[in-house]
Symmetry: C2
Subunit: 155 residues, 2 copies
DNA sequence: CTGTGTGCAAACATTTTGCAAGCAG
DNA sequence: CTGCTTGCAAAATGTTTGCACACAG
């Protein structure tokens, strides 16, 4: 697969259209609305959040929640979005046009900070190797209390 | 909290009873059945799996799925079981009487291998610190294909 | 006895699916 | 035109809750 890091929206769109064409699928206004909303809001969305925002940004389209689910699944299968599953906050999605990274999550306010660390990635590959696994993916989430919430708690 | 690593079942039971007493809760045969089933089967259970196994092992009790959920929540709050949430496989629980570890998961057969790596833990703390977080917990899951599934796939 | 714990069924939240109509190619 | 895509509502899934009875302390 092409390297998706730091694509512009137009490049992302072309990439999406290519994927659709390759699979005999169609480019629809709903699919574009979902992709553009994800691109313009590089946050972490639940399906519900995204559904709301897409409706708000594209009131002319009648987008159903089912389409959001179906499109997210399609985008995720093709690597255009990635998801993390947080415990109580549910599953969240984000556009995958940035370098691989992991998440640091504030247990108090829900804030998500992204980070990358090559040393850890190396160690992960080493661990997989030691256990005879071929590594395909990984998930690392650090939970803690952010600076601001630490202050608020001590009040 | 007391260090729960490598407790015998009797020690674990005492620990559980102490927690119950401290909270004004009661020790019931259902709660014991669930705890002992978890202890005797140090695997990773979904709520449903555990429910089935408890019923099978204790046919004299009529244990409901609601009790399994309630007891798992109680045990997890008190650190006697821990859970990981796998994407499609759902949330899984395991008894927490062993040292902290993370999981290496085969995407083909679902096998789960446990591992621990101090270097990674150190790096995680360092990352949290750099971002002003106080780390309370973390989750790391490596996904890959295990040795056996690699063989089967190449057939 | 008192109040917690229980199973059951209903309620819930989230996600998936069947369907007939819409529309991209 | 063809058949993929859509919204809708129904269904399925996983989890929680209200309730009346059971039972631990």
């Amino acid at each position: 697969m092409k390297n998706l890091e730091m694509l512009t929206y137009d490049e992302l769109l072309v990439e999406f259209k290519n994927i659709l064409k390759a699979d005999g699928l169609k480019f629809t206004s709903q699919r574009e609305a979902i992709l553009s909303t994800l691109y313009e809001n590089p946050q972490h969305f639940t399906s519900e959040n995204l559904y709301m925002l897409v409706k708000q940004k594209h009131p002319e389209l009648s987008v159903g929640i089912a389409t959001v689910y179906r499109t997210l699944a399609l985008l995720e299968e093709n690597g255009l979005v990635s998801s993390i599953s947080l415990g109580i906050q549910g599953k969240k999605f984000e556009i995958a046009n940035k370098p691989h990274h992991d998440h640091l999550i504030c247990e108090s306010c829900g804030k998500i900070v992204e980070f990358e660390n090559e040393k850890i990635e190396d160690l992960q590959h080493q661990i997989a190797k030691e256990n005879g696994f071929v590594l395909t993916d990984h998930l690392m989430q650090l939970y803690g209390i952010c600076t601001e919430c630490q202050k608020n708690q001590s009040k």
